[in-house]
C-alpha cells in the first residue's frame, strides 16, 4: 500500500519551478499607448533572441528574463531611443548573437553570397542544357 501511494505520488510530481514569485515587469505584457512607438518596439522585439529559450524571440518567449527584456525595450523606445540604439546597446553586452537580423560582418558574408553563387551555378547549368540541345 505504501509503495503504491509513493508510486501514485510520483505521477503527481512536478519539476521544481525555477521561476521567481514576482509579477512580470510593467511593460512586459502591456502595449505602449503610442501606437507608432509600440509598432517600433514590437518589430524590434521580434528580432531579439531570448537568452533563456534560445530559439525564440523575446516577443514569443514566456521566460521571465524575456519579459524583463521586453520591458527594457519598451521603456527605451518610449524614452525616445531608436530601435537601432536599443539593439546595439544589447549587442554590446551579449554579442551580435542576441539579434536575429543578419549583420554585414565578415562571418556573415557566406550568407549574403550564397544566393548569388547558387544563381551563377543555375545559370551555368541552364546554358549547358541549351547548348546540348542545340548540338543535337
Amino acid at each position: 500500500m505504501k509503495r503504491l501511494c509513493l508510486l501514485l505520488a510520483l505521477i503527481a510530481a512536478q519539476p521544481l519551478l525555477a521561476d521567481s514569485k514576482l509579477p512580470p515587469a510593467y511593460w512586459a505584457n502591456r502595449q505602449l499607448p503610442d501606437a507608432k512607438k509600440e509598432a517600433r518596439a514590437q518589430s524590434l522585439m521580434e528580432e531579439l533572441r531570448c537568452l533563456v529559450c534560445q530559439g525564440q524571440s523575446i516577443a514569443d518567449s514566456d521566460a521571465e528574463l524575456a519579459g524583463d527584456m521586453r520591458d527594457l525595450v519598451r521603456r527605451r523606445i518610449d524614452a525616445g531611443e531608436s530601435p537601432e540604439q536599443v539593439r546595439s546597446w544589447l549587442v554590446q553586452r551579449y554579442g551580435s548573437w542576441v539579434s536575429y537580423r543578419p549583420t554585414t560582418e565578415v562571418a556573415a558574408w557566406p550568407l549574403w553570397l550564397a544566393p548569388l553563387a547558387l544563381l551563377v551555378v543555375g545559370a551555368v547549368l541552364i546554358r549547358r542544357r541549351i547548348r546540348l540541345k542545340a548540338h543535337r
Binding site: 521544481l16 519551478l17 525555477a18 521561476d19 521567481s20 514569485k21 514576482l22 515587469a25 537568452l51 533563456v52 534560445q54 521571465e64 528574463l65 524583463d68 527584456m69 520591458d71 527594457l72 544589447l90 549587442v91 554590446q92 553586452r93 551579449y94 554579442g95 548573437w97 542576441v98
Partner: protein, 174 residues
C-alpha cells in the same frame, strides 16, 4: 555528364552525415558569455533587500578585487553555491550580491537557511542590472578589480573545484 559528377550526390550525402555526427558528438555550447569582460562596470544603484546595505557600482571600486555574485532565492543551484562562497569568504574574498527578481522575506529566509557570505546585496527586481551586465541567468559571478573593471565572468554555480580558478582570477585582478 562525366562519371565523377555522378558520385557527387553520394559524396554530398556522406559529407552531410559526417557533419551531423560531428555536431552530435560535440554539441554547440549554448552559454551566453558577457561581452563586457575587460570593460568597466555599467553604472547602477540598487536598493537594499535585507538588513544590509544595497549595492551601487561605486561600491565595487574599493581598490581591492571583489566577486559580484548574481543570485536568487528561487534559484536551486544557488543553494549549493552559497557554501562555496562562504569558503571563499573565509579565505578573505569580498563578495557582494545582486538578488534577481526577489522578495525581501524570501532573501532573508534564503540567507538564514544557507548562510550569508555577502557584504552588500542589491535588489534587481526586473533584471535590469543583470541585462546591463550581459548576464543571462542565475547564478553567475563576476570578478571585479579595484577600479571597477570586469575581469572575469563565471557562468553557473561556483563549485568547490572552481575555487582555485576564482582565487587566481582574483589574484590576477590585483
Amino acid at each position: 555528364m562525366s562519371r565523377a559528377i555522378r558520385f557527387a550526390p553520394l559524396v554530398l550525402l556522406f559529407l552531410l552525415i559526417a557533419a551531423l555526427i560531428w555536431r552530435l558528438a560535440t554539441p554547440v555550447d549554448s552559454t551566453v558569455s558577457s561581452k563586457l569582460e575587460g570593460k568597466s562596470l555599467p553604472a547602477f544603484a540598487l536598493p537594499a533587500v535585507v538588513a544590509k546595505p544595497g549595492l551601487a557600482s561605486q561600491d565595487l571600486q574599493t581598490g581591492t578585487p571583489r566577486i559580484l555574485n548574481i543570485f536568487a532565492s528561487w534559484c536551486v543551484p544557488c543553494v549549493a553555491e552559497v557554501k562555496v562562497l562562504q569558503e571563499l569568504k573565509r579565505r578573505g574574498v569580498h563578495i557582494d550580491g545582486i538578488a534577481i527578481r526577489d522578495r525581501p522575506e524570501d532573501v532573508a529566509a534564503f540567507l538564514q537557511r544557507n548562510g550569508d557570505p555577502y557584504e552588500r546585496i542589491g535588489s534587481d527586481a526586473q533584471s535590469q542590472v543583470q541585462i546591463a551586465l550581459g548576464s543571462s541567468g542565475v547564478p553567475e559571478s563576476f570578478v571585479i578589480d579595484g577600479r571597477g573593471v570586469i575581469r572575469y565572468q563565471h557562468i553557473g554555480p561556483i563549485e568547490g573545484s572552481d575555487i582555485p580558478t576564482m582565487m587566481s582570477k582574483l589574484e590576477q585582478a590585483r
